[in-house]
Symmetry: C2
Subunit: 222 residues, 2 copies
């Protein structure tokens, strides 16, 4: 028997990644939500997949919506923080946006489950998920702020400011289609995002800069 | 009482668009699938929303999956046909891809319901939907074939060939987010798609050409 740290015996030792029962619940829920659908998944099934009692699951999450909410926040927390840091930097915006796109596409591609596929659930339009919608809107705004700076620097098309954010999220569809190698996508999407804004500078130099920046801050493995 | 043309009395006169009971069923299903989710929608609810008996619905569609399948095909039929026609044309590929993107984004933006949001349903990965998946893959391949020609003409990045298709589908997310005006999106996305391929020619001339082409063939209202 294995203890989850709350003194409650677990039904079976789990092989799921995660240092805590909470993380194992999130991992199991992510698998079930993306594989069989949110509506078709019950908290009982999630508890069974982790190997805990349903009552134990409720120590960590009050409802199934709370589990979904936690998973969704996990997809935007890190890019939001990085975007906030990058926006405080002076100098050309192209390297900043490039780094943000590489990082964000990287995390969308390398997470164990394709959680972005949950963004289109009808449930997300309910009031329960308004805080998440607002925060994702904030991430979109931060992308747009960097994009507008790149457009100004490159004399690019004024109406293209939303495209980098949309290109980043397009890897969710690509992943869902089971298409080819994902490892190159951060670099392909970052270059494409800048091209949509009219940037036609030195992409090799940007790749070097971004590689240094993201390794230095230990934010992503690329 | 109103007859649906099969001699069966309808429970109530419907206000749904559609010249036939079949089209009204598709419209009601599209609304329910996108608003409350596919798993949560029953054929009984669809029949009620149209104002027909469930038994009458089964004259048109054997299962709920069959209704979903018909809706999905409706999102790719026209762009597939247009892409096939465009691929037979000689000369520069940029105007061809521009026209395809304007047309396809136009139909994704102007349909009554955001049907593309159903592409990410887990149900679509089942064998039932393999024919649809293959046809959508064919549309993606036709985009890629045109994109590779533009890349060759523009000395653009070799690995960008999948981006126009992904950019087109990004309007599904934009629409789901309830973001701003959609009317400009066909033109914004078409220009962005070409820019990702390294094209830096005359966009004003392309817009004129595409406007003429799509009006002449009466394929879309842009």
């Amino acid at each position: 028997m294995y203890s989850d740290g709350r003194g409650r015996p677990r039904l079976e030792r789990s092989r799921r990644p995660g240092r805590s029962a909470r993380e194992e619940i999130l991992d199991a829920a992510a698998e079930l939500f993306t594989a069989q659908g949110y509506a078709r998944t019950s908290t009982r099934q999630i508890a069974e997949a982790v190997g805990i009692r349903q009552a134990s699951l409720y120590h960590h999450f009050g409802t199934k919506d709370d589990i979904l909410d936690a998973l969704l926040w996990g997809t935007i927390d890190d890019p939001l923080r990085l975007a906030g840091e990058l926006l405080t930097e002076d100098g050309p915006a192209a390297p900043l946006l490039h780094a943000l796109v590489v990082f964000d596409v990287g995390q969308l591609c390398t997470g164990r489950w394709n959680l972005g596929a949950l963004y289109l659930l009808p449930e997300l339009r309910t009031p329960r998920f308004q805080p998440f919608r607002l925060r994702r809107g904030e991430l979109r705004d931060r992308y747009a702020a960097l994009a507008r700076r790149v457009i100004a620097e490159s004399a690019g098309p004024d109406d293209a400011y939303d495209l980098p954010f949309r290109l980043v999220e397009s890897v969710i569809n690509r992943r869902s289609d089971g298409e080819g190698r994902l490892a190159d996508q951060p670099w392909i999407i970052a270059e494409a995002a800048l091209r949509t804004l009219g940037f036609a500078g030195d992409f090799a130099a940007l790749r070097t800069l971004t590689g240094q920046r993201l390794r230095l801050t230990d934010k992503v493995h690329v």
